[in-house]
């Protein structure tokens, strides 16, 4: 039984894991079992993900300030996967993906919405950039998508380079 230093966030319960990873499976088709090799911790309004390896037991006695990658965060009453979580695991998604080009990305970064024809329910979609990588999340409602990516992180200037 691992003795965690009190600085470590709380280990998420099986129910909590199933709730969060199950959402990724249901919404995006990301297989739930790929997260078997990870530990999920909860700290206040966010959840952190780290590889579950033997050495975590050694590190458990250390006073930590941060563990792994922030994977989910609570936004109001909802829980949202983070941009970085989606960038790491989004390549396993089979649905609710929207490929956009740089012109459409520029519109999103200006705060505009995109009119799209997507056969998915209201909710988050994974935004991918044509011939490039996974950008993060957008929110789809009434046939329109708006960006959920931080404009501090992804800036208009990045499209000029």
């Amino acid at each position: 039984m691992t003795q965690w230093d009190s600085s470590w966030p709380e280990l998420a319960s099986e129910d909590e894991r199933h709730h969060l990873f199950g959402y990724l499976k249901e919404r995006f088709g990301i297989p739930e079992d790929i997260f078997k090799e990870y530990l999920l911790f909860r700290r206040k309004k966010s959840w952190q993900l780290i590889k579950n390896v033997n050495q975590v037991v050694y590190a458990s006695i250390l006073k930590v300030s941060k563990v792994g990658v922030r994977a989910f965060q609570k936004v109001g009453a909802y829980v949202r996967p983070t941009t970085r979580m989606i960038q790491v695991f989004g390549h396993r998604a089979t649905k609710a993906r929207l490929e956009i080009d740089e012109e459409q990305l520029s519109m999103l970064l200006k705060g505009e919405q995109l009119s799209v024809d997507l056969a998915v329910d209201r909710g988050y979609v994974i935004l991918t950039l044509k011939d490039n990588g996974i950008l993060g999340l957008g929110f789809f409602v009434n046939g329109r998508v708006r960006s959920q990516i931080s404009r501090k992180e992804l800036r208009q200037a990045m499209l000029i380079y």
Partner: protein, 256 residues
């Protein structure tokens, strides 16, 4: 990136985790930076992780980790396996450290905030990077003309701190483990003197450094001081030879 006119060159045949991009300005303004496809670092800084080369699945300590370039490079060399303890004393630096690690998708790291020289001796690591605070003389060529080197008291106290860190790092090393001591300065008081102090006080051995790039051996004399001949196994990288920041490395082993 090449489609955008960035000229990428392989640094050497040995390593595929590092590319040279001469003339690339403001890499942090590239979309690929946001996407976590790369992290810009001085060439010689990249060589530190390669000189240490932590193996897949190993337990690694980065004693002075912020802003996380070398930590994330080690995670890449380890294929995101094992566990890295990324330590930095100052909480204000944990934010930039955490940001670098998240942006690059590093999933095998925890961040701690101990004084490096007092990191708890409760466990031992297979690989340790001690990229210590230094006077930064190696960066003279890239600093602007208006910046001036300041001979502050803090600079004079660095060797004492560095000696404490190298000793603690060595004591945290597993048998047959490997530690890399590095600085970005030329000052022998912060380089060979510190490693010499370790050799005088612990059963340490100096290991060869193979980074696929030529370097000068460590010096064995400075002023009135003569150092152990073994210090020739340490490495000095000079800007006029490598077109990068000046750097010093010592690869240290613990006898099994």
């Amino acid at each position: 990136m090449e489609e955008k006119g960035v000229c990428l060159g392989k640094s050497n045949d040995k390593d595929r985790s590092m590319y040279i991009a001469p003339g690339l300005d403001s890499p942090g303004n590239m979309l690929e930076y946001f996407l976590g496809f790369f992290h810009p670092q001085a060439f010689t800084s990249c060589l530190a992780s390669i000189a240490l080369s932590p193996k897949r699945g190993s337990y690694v300590l980065d004693m002075c980790a912020s802003p996380g370039g070398k930590t994330s490079h080690m995670a890449q060399l380890m294929d995101n396996t094992g566990l890295i303890v990324a330590n930095d004393l100052y909480p204000s630096r944990h934010s930039s450290l955490g940001h670098t690690l998240e942006r690059l998708g590093v999933l095998n790291t925890v961040i701690t905030g101990y004084q490096a020289q007092e990191f708890p001796l409760k466990q031992h690591f297979g690989f340790i990077l001690a990229d210590v605070p230094c006077s930064g003389e190696g960066g003279f060529r890239k600093t602007s003309e208006t910046s001036k080197y300041k001979e502050t008291r803090a600079r004079f106290s660095l060797p004492e701190l560095q000696k404490k860190i190298i000793i603690r790092g060595f004591d945290l090393l597993k048998e047959n483990g490997v530690m890399l001591y590095s600085t970005c300065t030329y000052n022998p008081e912060e380089n060979e003197s510190v490693v010499s102090f370790l050799l005088e006080n612990r059963e340490a051995k100096l290991l060869p450094i193979n980074v696929g790039f030529d370097y000068e051996p460590g010096i064995t004399e400075w002023g009135n001081r003569k150092y152990d001949k073994r210090l020739e196994k340490t490495a000095r990288f000079y800007p006029h030879r490598c077109d990068s920041v000046g750097f010093f490395m010592a690869r240290i082993g613990k006898r099994g």
